[in-house]
Amino acid sequence: MAHLAKADFRTRLQEWLPKLVLSPSIAAMLVFVYGFILYTLYLSFTDSRMLPSYDWVGVENYVKLWGLRAWWTAVINLGIFAGLYITICTAIGLTLAILLDQKIRGEGTLRPIYLYPMALSFIVTGTAWKWIMDPGIGIEHTMHLWGWESFQFNWIKDREMAIYTVVIAAVWQTSGFVMSMFLAGLRGIDNEILKAAQIDGASNWSLYRRIVIPLLRPAFLSAFVILAHLAVKSYDLIIALTGGGPGRATELPATFMYSYTFTRNSMGIGAASAVIMLMTIAAIMTPYLYAELKEKK
């Protein structure tokens, strides 16, 4: 602007205020997020064990990391877990939202029931789920007591299936929240568009398939961000539910990182695994952010 010089002080203050207001957040973010990420990156190249040390060892930690079976297990588990968790949560959330949007009597009661698990921490409910899925005392036991002797549900004790119990508990916790997001999305769709589609002769099925679901794209995106972030950060859940077991069959990168950093006193490897995790997240998030920010142009 050519005439900025003529602006009086208060006007200039008005122009600076927004940035001034934003600056503490930016500063905090730079230090506490990006600074720490850089710090972690640095640690991943050192031989830090119990406490940070500053002896450079190059990529040794990364080499070790990728040589560890447990890390591979963790990465593969994350793939399975995140994939299923995000898909199932989305599917259940969408289904419930659509059903709940049909002028359901008692919506006011059902909604908090679907939503409340989000309010609980896994320290709280992990134990309950562990019980429920434990064949000795949980569902299986109960079914046996009720006379269904052949009933079997012992996934939590099965190395192959244990990761799916984690999915169940995680889905239990967040699908209600996802439902709310979709419900909000559905309620936000212009009624006239739905009316128009009916006039156009669309049956309920094609109405949802062709009009409603495509229109929920923003809700899908928001849900994806939240679910992806929860999947990547899942830690409490594993600890409370399976403790990473049986064996180390349900280890995830977050638990892996924690155990190497803090219980195994191999902070360097822990940092390396954190860096890999962050890079993965960045790879997934950047396209989303790009789309989000471009759209607003």
Partner: protein, 393 residues
């Protein structure tokens, strides 16, 4: 003055026992600031400790196990207890194997509270009597006994599928296979040859045999639930540290009458131990130092050792304490400890971080657990063990 104590004894008798120490200190004009963080057998507390130290605000005293103490000492974070130690003559009464952890560079840095030993077998006497089983004295008898139990339809071995519980069994099994020398060579010195030896294969074979006596529903089970199986008579044996005794006592069982305690057959004479100690962190003011050493002295005092260990199921960390207050198993433990100390058969527990550092311990966990859960056969397990230990060193 006050002491801030970070520990993970947050429940039941042990917390109450710690309260004795607290009251004692308060009687001496020293305040107690409690800082309990439970979880993962002290893992959470260690994480907290790391944060506290990094923030430059370490607690005065921290409950710690084995090599962690040495690691912290190596970081230069710990204080010095030489004064009170020499005053009270700790060098003479604390077993050398414990001193290995309580002293760094020749200086006292921690006060041991107790000695747990891990190569115990707990048995339901009623079940054994019913099946006509005598207390087994050799490995083969032990196996035979379990076969008998299995035939009766009960669970021979109660076990919880958590890495540390499997490693606890390992302690006893290694001692039963190769004795103290092999134990030390393989798991303390980490000699690759010993680690990869046929003996090691036998260790894993025995572990596999034991796995065969465990029920299917073991994975993730807490140890006290496994103990409960023995108490209820659902199972005959449990291999577990002496803290299991508390469960039996709490259930109103009497040692020798309702339940038996004996060393893992084949490991007689040897004791694999772990010891809870209070590591004393560096404090600056004299007042704090005084409080700290008063606390250390109180911990080491026979009254406290007795008060605490009778509750906890462990035995005192000093060998000159009267046995009268202890029950049968406790007395046996004390005798065993003294004897093993004499004969040099007191070894640090593999499973509880008294044989080697955390990284190595966890590497061993990984292999043992994987093997126990059927992921490796014994031969593979031996190979993996060598690799894992090597890469963790």
């Amino acid at each position: 003055a006050e002491v801030e104590v970070l520990h993970w004894w947050t429940a039941g008798g042990e917390a109450a026992a710690l309260n004795v120490l607290k009251e004692k200190l308060e009687g001496q004009g020293i305040g107690w600031v409690d800082m309990p963080v439970a979880g993962g057998g002290g893992e959470a507390a260690m994480t907290t400790l790391r944060a506290r130290v990094t923030a430059g605000d370490p607690p005065t005293a921290v409950q710690m196990l084995g090599f962690d103490i040495q690691d912290w000492a190596a970081e230069g974070a710990l204080g010095n207890l030489d004064a009170i130690a020499s005053e009270e003559g700790w060098d003479a009464v604390v077993p050398a194997a414990l001193q290995r952890f309580s002293k760094y560079d020749g200086h006292w840095i921690a006060a041991p509270v107790n000695v747990h030993s891990t190569n115990w077998v707990w048995a339901n006497k009623a079940v054994l009597d019913e099946l006509g089983i005598a207390q087994p004295t050799t490995w083969d008898e032990f196996i035979a006994a379990m076969e008998t139990v299995k035939e009766s339809g009960k669970t021979p071995l109660a076990h919880g599928g958590q890495a540390w519980q499997e490693a606890t069994i390992l302690d006893g099994v290694v001692l039963s296979v190769g004795g103290v020398d092999f134990y030390n060579k393989a798991f303390v010195e980490l000699d690759p040859e010993a680690l990869g030896s046929d003996r090691m294969k036998e260790v894993f074979d025995r572990m596999a045999t034991l796995r065969g006596f465990v029920d299917d529903n073991f994975s993730g089970r807490d140890w006290n639930l496994a103990s409960a199986m023995v108490i209820n008579g659902e199972a005959a044996f449990q291999i577990m540290g002496d803290w299991a005794k508390g469960e039996f006592l709490n259930a109103g069982k009497v040692p020798g009458e309702d339940f038996l305690c004996f060393r893992v057959p084949g490991s007689d004479g040897a004791v694999s131990f772990n010891s809870d100690q209070f590591a004393m962190f560096g404090v600056s003011s004299d007042e704090a130092k005084d409080a700290q050493s008063t606390m250390a002295g109180d911990i080491m005092s026979p009254e406290f050792q007795i008060a605490f260990n009778t509750v906890k199921g462990s035995v005192p960390a000093r060998t000159d304490v009267a046995k009268d207050d202890f029950d049968a198993c406790g007395q046996k433990g004390m005798d065993d400890l003294a004897a093993a100390n004499e004969s040099g058969k007191l070894v640090g527990s593999i499973g509880h971080g008294h044989a080697n550092r955390a990284a190595v311990k966890n590497a061993i966990y990984d292999v043992v657990t994987a093997h126990f859960n059927g992921e490796y056969d014994s031969a593979t397990a031996v190979e993996e063990l060598v690799n894992a230990v090597e890469s963790a060193m």
